[in-house]
């Protein structure tokens, strides 16, 4: 009967008597509405889908944490699909989410705006994080990779480091690409004549460790190593220390992301603070408002600011890292 629905949902008018009787019976019978039936009528699942390439490491737990907090405060549920290694898997993940959600939060190196347009009806709101979208057809969030990487290398140069190596993230990853680009530009402009030295990594500690050993094996010893994320920096730190080198005295080190652990490793890691959970929360807020008012939803691309966090791992600056391009610097 309709009054039951009205009482349960607090929508429409019901006599107090009926209301209490319904609520009491519902409680007694452990009644829980079937959300499938509900969303069939309301056209809302109150669920948003999240597509992530992996869940490995603190970056993703921070991201999900931020998304989760924002979602909870809006009464939205999170359907998570992570761990896909190529476009096919990403496509499948997408497919299986589409019929179950009101909107999609996508972060994937294997997906781009066009890919999404081809397989998702345009009425489904989507927000992208660190995901390529040449045609600017979607709302996106990007970390300020290029400038921050530039600023970090400039800061390292300002600390007196002349040869600076870079441990890059995966080739396919747009964050990784932009960070290399920033590294290269800074090297060219701030240290003219200095040789580039790029080692490959894949954003895991393991790969940072391997890169560190590789570096050592070449016999070259750069003044500083700038890793494209904190996990690789931590792996590299381990390799360097294992080889008897002291950080920062013998070799300086910097990372990217400012994952929670960064300030607790020894020496504390100089890095670029991304405010990962904030970014996740903002992306969700954006998606939620797109779901509520689809008409006003214009695709805009937002750059998430980042700041240098100067800790012990990079040594003391010889001169202040004053550079018009540099992100705000903070000593912690």
């Amino acid at each position: 009967m309709a009054s039951v629905s009205r009482a349960l949902n607090g929508t429409g008018v019901v006599t107090e008597a009926i209301r209490t009787r319904v609520l009491e019976a519902a409680a007694r019978l452990q009644y829980v509405p079937n959300s499938g039936a509900q969303s069939l009528m309301t056209r809302r699942t109150h669920t948003i889908g999240i597509v992530l390439p992996t869940l490995y490491g603190e970056f993703f737990s921070e991201l999900i944490r931020g998304i989760d907090i924002a979602a909870r405060s809006r009464g939205l549920h999170l359907l998570i699909s992570s761990t896909h290694c190529d476009a096919t898997e990403a496509g499948n993940a997408l497919q299986s989410l589409i019929g179950r959600v009101d909107g999609l939060l996508v972060m994937s190196p294997y997906v781009d705006g066009r890919f999404l347009q081809e397989r998702v009806r345009s009425s489904l709101p989507i927000v992208l994080i660190s995901t390529v979208d040449i045609d600017h057809t979607h709302t996106s969030f990007y970390v300020d990779n290029y400038s921050s990487a530039y600023a970090m290398v400039a800061h390292l140069a300002g600390c007196g480091h002349r040869t600076i190596a870079h441990i890059a993230g995966p080739d396919v990853n747009v964050d990784a690409q932009e960070r290399v680009r920033g590294y290269r530009a800074a090297l060219n402009r701030e240290l003219p004549g200095a040789a580039e030295f790029v080692l490959r990594g894949d954003f895991t500690e393991e790969s940072g460790y391997r890169a560190g050993r590789e570096l050592l094996a070449t016999g070259m010893r750069p003044d500083a190593v700038f890793a494209a994320n904190d996990m690789m920096a931590i792996g590299c730190l381990c390799a360097l220390t294992e080889a008897g080198l002291r950080v920062p005295q013998d070799i300086a080190l910097a990372g990217f992301d400012d994952i929670p652990t960064a300030r607790f490793v020894v020496p504390a890691l100089t890095t670029v603070r991304v405010r990962i959970s904030d970014m996740g929360g903002r992306a969700l807020d954006r998606l939620a408002s797109a779901i509520e008012s689809p008409a006003q939803f214009q695709p805009v691309s937002e750059t998430v600011p980042a700041e240098l966090i100067i800790r012990a791992s990079c040594g003391t600056p010889a001169r202040p890292a004053g550079n018009p391009r540099s992100a705000p610097v903070q000593r912690v």
Copy 2:
């Protein structure tokens, strides 16, 4: 028409001609079945709900990662509800999941078996992880906390450490409780007369760091510190090193969990390996089989074995840590 459904789902018989026409049309129209309507008929959502207290740190990302991999291979979706700080919030999280899932994976210090029985219809399969269930009404997974903590303290004693402090996790947390218990028992039996020294923490690096400073402030300097998880051990490491102490020469350190970062901090962290993602995967497998054949689902409690992982942070053992109670020891 029924044939469409049959063609799309590959169930029942359809002419090849119809099959291709349907599939082609579906692709062209970007058709995606409405999962709500589907589950209304099939009584299956192919979704399982996960209740977690928080998402902070690598423990939870590893756990979810393991669950996710297992879920994917079974075609199950994951609805995640984390971040609840008390029983009320946990109850709400539960309520909002119940109507949407085929089963529940619950890990929460604020929930127990009875609490669940009161608000979840008994036909909904539930698997517990590190969650109290005195009446043994649910299937549960528990880390072998007590024995492993005992073994770790015995190992530290075997390394020659006489005074051993413990940084405990939150009081409400059953893992934390059992680890303190193991610590106490080992101290009593392996180092008779040695004083207990328990510092409070909450499983975050920050709290480990604070505990480390607190320890230093007392003026006592134990030979070793055993933290109830790796994150606190890493925080403590930072506090100790900051104060000019060397680990393990001046003070030994051990953690619990073996999160991925544990082997990359310097010195590498001696710890108890829990195989977090495995545990998550096994819990999901158990839940999945309960969903498939509810009749055979008997509540059983499983203890997940753990092993000591001896790395540099605890110093070299003076004598082999041979103890009948001890978990298998591995040097890495």
